[in-house]
Amino acid sequence: MIALLARDLRLAVRAGGGFGLGLAFFLLVAVLVPLGVGPQGDTLARIAPGILWVGALLACLLSLDRIFALDFEDGSLDLLATSPVPMEGAVAVKALAHWLVTGLPLTLAAPVLGVLLYLPGPGYLWLVVSLALGTPALSVIGAFGAALVVGLKRGGLLMSLLVLPLYVPTLIFGAEVVKRGAAGMEVATPLALLAGITAGALALLPFAAAAAIRVNLR
């Protein structure tokens, strides 16, 4: 499993792996929104938590189809299916690799983009905390969506239609944590609910995703 993780990470960071794409997309969102809504500080500060969360979510979506599609095309997914590692474990490792190359950099870059959007002072800590807690859920839900469409020729668009509704609870609680944190309010409730969603998704979705992959490899 560790070998699989190392392989996925290596593939992602080498040329053509699209490592920086999500990050660049996140930056673009944070630059385009002020250009669209105007430079007024109070407006930007009010929408900053939501924009940052939506931007992180879309950036995450961008690289989802890479989780399984390339391995499906060159046949390494079939090899994985016959290897002693259970498919559930392989899915979990691949979701982890996806999180390490998208979710983690997004979490680390978010405070910088928060400055661009005039995020109020106390919000930064909660921005990083909520993204660190929430992006693993985004990766594993995305892995499930990618597993559903892996057998299709052009599954990317369909996958966004399937995955985005599943992202709703994560987005709501994540953005709520930042919003409340930025306003100096109590954040424990949405933070606990966000952590709950992540924990539940991590525990259950690898099984659903593995079932979908087995169907697609049949």
Binding site: F144, L148, V149, G151, L152, G155, L158, L161, L162, L164, P165, L166, V168, P169, I172, F173, E176, K179, R180, P190, L193, I197, L205, A208, A211, A212, V215, N216, R218
Partner: protein
């Protein structure tokens, strides 16, 4: 005699051919009695005027939009556990019906909301969760139509339906939480049986029965069509081999 007999397509076709005219007749009867009674023989509300009458379409459609998803969930579970093709086809047949009910609920709600709340749309928890339900239906239907092999499609949509159900319920409560965090929403809750007087309630119940029957009729019809389409495809495949 067990319910699993109907997993046999032939048996299902026989029984549904017998049941379909009755279901259709009962639908027409309930809907015409309920809607005509509701639209023409109930008094106007003292505050809402005649707009209150949209309730006879809105509430039954909204109820059936949710129940249709529950029926799809049960049918998907039966397919995944027991591999009965009729069950998978029934889930496939129910999805567009459920989507239509969701859209009816959203549109009638908007038509009522415009004169009453002064807006076509508000980010009220119920409205928002219905919009999300609408997205779930669209994703489910899109996945059915995107996968070519029917058994693969049935398996994948089944898994999606189960996971989607969990997330739909989560979204429902997340949305509640989200809106209370923002503002006191324009309240839609009417706790029907306590608040609505019998004058409105009896035709409403007839309408709800009519919509349930309508759903049953449409799903039976569409499942029969799906089974026939499957038979035609099998015949064509056989001919090509011969």
């Amino acid at each position: 005699m067990s319910i699993w007999e109907y997993a046999n397509p032939k048996k299902f076709m026989q029984t549904s051919a017998w049941a379909l005219p009755w279901a259709l007749a009962a639908t027409v009867l309930c809907l015409s009695v309920g809607l005509i009674w509701g639209f023409f023989f109930t008094p106007d509300d003292y505050k809402q005027g005649a707009t209150v009458k949209i309730i006879y379409l809105h509430v039954p459609a909204a109820m059936m939009a949710i129940n249709a998803w529950v029926m799809m969930l049960v049918a998907s579970l039966i397919w995944i556990v027991r591999r009965h093709h009729v069950s998978a086809l029934a889930a496939k047949a129910a999805a567009p019906v459920g989507l239509t009910f969701t859209l009816i609920a959203l549109v009638t709600g908007a038509l009522w909301g415009q004169p009453m709340w002064g807006t076509w749309w508000a980010w009220d928890p119920r409205l928002t969760s219905f919009l999300i339900l609408c997205l779930f239906y669209m994703g489910y239907i899109a996945l059915w139509s995107a996968v070519e092999d029917p058994d693969t499609a049935a398996d994948l949509t089944g898994v999606l339906c189960i996971v989607g159900s969990v997330f739909a319920v989560l979204s429902r409560y997340a949305v509640n939480f989200w809106n209370q965090g923002l503002h006191q929403g324009a309240s839609l809750s009417m706790d029907a049986k306590e608040n609505v007087s019998d004058v409105f309630w009896i035709p409403l119940v007839i309408c709800i029965a009519g919509f349930i029957l309508l759903f049953v009729t449409l799903v039976l019809m569409r499942t029969r069509t799906e089974i026939r389409a499957r038979r035609v495809a099998a015949l064509l495949a056989r001919e090509r081999l011969a």
